[in-house]
């Protein structure tokens, strides 16, 4: 997929996310929008995960530790052919449906049940370590929120990752600088974050996490160093793509109204038209 195609995908994904959240009446809107471009590049460009190979162990793996942003994962997995997109309109946030507000393995394409923050990295370390022990060549990608990093387990797992030299592990931080209560730096300061990760033994790279081209270039270079886990500090904007949601704390789990949805879709359609002109 070339850059223009990836850009188009991101717009389509954003539209679907907004539509299914609006339709289902619940969702973690802004956190899903902030990492759309990351999942887009991972699933369309970097990772070897398909409905056909999903049942085999020796393929790439993706664990979304920030499970609350499940809508982006559902949207991308539908696009990858794991189930029809229509299932999301029928099912998201509906009683008796499997498309609930956090990822579960009942949904095709989902690797691990998440939702309680601060679990995904430890599980990813285990999965990467199993790959090493079994002599498999797969890689394990995991996506964490920045607020999530307050959980001590993330740092315990980081030590293990470096200790076991897991260069098949790629940790991506959705660094949108917001959590529920406010700015991460006001709630529980994380900086200097890159230095901390470097000190914990990662090969650290920073990237504009809403730039599909920069993400593609960077992620195709993993592992960044032999013998070290890779860490991508992806600087993102929470609510990215919808002007009135961008960098706004209130959109963490707010659902757009009918009018708000119309405005958002219009903005995204305009962005799409502009792309066409390129």
């Amino acid at each position: 997929m070339n850059t223009n195609e990836l850009l188009l995908k991101s717009i389509e994904y954003r539209k679907t996310i907004l539509e299914i959240i609006h339709h289902g009446g619940a969702g973690h809107t802004a956190g899903s929008l902030s990492c759309v471009d990351i999942l887009n590049v991972l699933y369309n460009k970097i990772m070897d995960i398909t409905p056909e190979n999903f049942d085999s162990v020796n393929r790439d793996h993706y664990i979304q530790s920030k499970g609350h942003s499940v809508e982006v994962l559902y949207t991308v997995l539908a696009d990858q052919g794991f189930y029809p997109q229509d299932d999301l309109f029928k099912g998201l946030n509906q009683n008796h449906s499997k498309f609930i507000g956090h990822p579960t393995r009942k949904v095709p394409g989902i690797e691990h049940n998440t939702g309680a923050l601060g679990h995904g990295l430890s599980v990813s370390v285990g999965l990467a370590l199993a790959g090493k022990l079994n002599g498999h060549t797969y890689r394990v990608f995991t996506l964490l929120g920045d607020g999530e990093l307050a959980e001590g387990s993330s740092w315990e797992a980081s030590m293990s990752a470096a200790h076991y030299k897991l260069d098949n592990l790629i940790v991506i931080i959705d660094r949108n600088t917001l959590q529920i209560t406010g700015r991460t730096e006001e709630v529980n300061g994380l900086e200097p974050l890159a230095d901390k990760f470097t000190a914990f033994g990662y090969a650290v790279r920073q990237v504009d996490g809403n730039n599909v081209e920069a993400l593609s270039n960077l992620l195709s270079q993993v592992p960044f160093e032999q013998g070290k886990p890779s860490l991508v500090l992806a600087n993102t904007v929470k609510g990215k793509g919808v002007s009135y949601m961008e960098d706004q704390m209130v959109w963490h789990h707010k659902v757009p109204s009918d009018e708000q949805l119309v405005i958002a879709l219009k903005e995204l359609d305009t962005a799409k038209l502009e792309l066409g002109d390129v």
């Binding site: 499997k98 609930i100 507000g101 956090h102 049940n113 309680a116 999530e148 307050a150």
Partner: protein, 322 residues
């Protein structure tokens, strides 16, 4: 006196309103949160009393450890976080730093039970009674309505012991007449009198127990309802009185059937040598279905109708045993 339920507020809103009012007069009260002040309805508290709120970020183990330390430093601490995380992820801190070390920390579990319905099992707290019951030296309270919540918060402020209070997210019907009801931690409250069957309820299902009793009474069946708002210290006398003065007992809780109110009652009865038709209503030991709180309640019989059906079945077994 029997009151017809009117709709109140979410218990967690009543908790935060009451605590704010008290904390304005008592600067030693501290609220500690883990990116949870929004769900805990504590935004106003944070704005009005910024010196009396400590934020630790998304770190529930740290939350409880810090709370224990703040208590060691003389503070009266309310540690507020979703019940699903604070009673499991922080369980060792609760056990060692609060209960074992005997610190004056009130652990406040918000959005408890299956309040978070469709967010799934990671966000359900239907294990907390069991987890905490086998830890010595922590009181366990789950108010049914706004009155019980407000009274519990007032009592907890003057309760210098480890405690856990469990609060839900949905508006609750008012079940008590505040004028004529006395609330005391560890003392059950009789909401309906009756002699055929007794429903012992804790927390948000209590409203459904009352509904069931009212339906049963129209069918000529007299049903006692006990609000067992405190699991520890447990009001054994209220249980024994129900066992001696009614023909069957049902317990109902927004919890797994393992290790909660029902098993506590069953064990107490058996050890007193009492055998009585008995049924535990709660979540069975399996993956729950996906649904919001009302859907889950209905599916698992935690509803007026469901409890009526359970009562009728139990009373049938009474007949066949006669």
């Amino acid at each position: 006196m029997t009151i017809e339920p009117t709709m109140g507020k979410p218990n967690q809103q009543v908790f935060s309103d009451t605590l704010l009012e008290i904390a304005k007069q008592n600067e030693n009260i501290l609220v500690v949160t883990s990116d949870s002040r929004g769900s805990g309805k504590l935004v106003a508290f944070g704005q009005e009393l910024p010196q009396q709120i400590v934020e630790v970020g998304i770190a529930e183990q740290n939350l409880i450890g810090i709370s224990a330390g703040l208590s060691a430093g003389g503070k009266k601490v309310f540690a507020v976080s979703p019940a699903c995380f604070v009673t499991i992820r922080s369980l060792e801190q609760v056990k060692n730093d609060v209960a074992y070390s005997d610190r004056d920390v009130c652990v406040v579990g918000i959005s408890a039970g299956v309040s978070y319905g469709l967010l799934g099992s990671t966000h359900h707290a239907i294990h907390d009674y069991a987890a905490l019951r086998c830890i010595n030296n922590i009181d366990i309270i789950a108010p049914a309505d706004n009155f019980e919540t407000e009274q519990a918060v007032r009592a907890l402020v003057h309760h210098p012991r480890p405690a856990y209070i469990r609060l839900g997210k949905r508006p609750m019907p008012n079940l008590h007449d505040p004028e004529s009801t006395l609330f005391e931690i560890g003392k059950a409250i009789e909401l309906r009198q009756g002699t055929d069957v007794t429903i012992i309820a804790i927390g948000e299902p209590t409203a459904h127990a009352v509904e069931a009793a009212d339906i049963l009474s129209r069918q000529g069946i007299s049903c006692r309802v006990i609000s067992m708002h405190t699991l520890r210290p447990f009001d054994k006398a209220a249980l024994m009185d129900a066992a001696r003065n009614s023909r069957a007992i049902i317990t109902v809780e927004e919890h797994s059937v393992c290790g909660g109110l029902g098993e506590l009652c069953a064990s107490a009865l058996l050890q007193e040598g009492i055998r009585i038709p008995f049924k535990i209503v709660g979540f069975p030991d399996e993956y729950t279905i996906n649904g919001d709180q009302p859907t889950l309640f209905k599916h698992y019989g935690i509803s007026g109708e469901g409890l009526v059906a359970t009562a009728c079945e139990l009373l049938e077994t009474c007949k066949s045993q006669m």
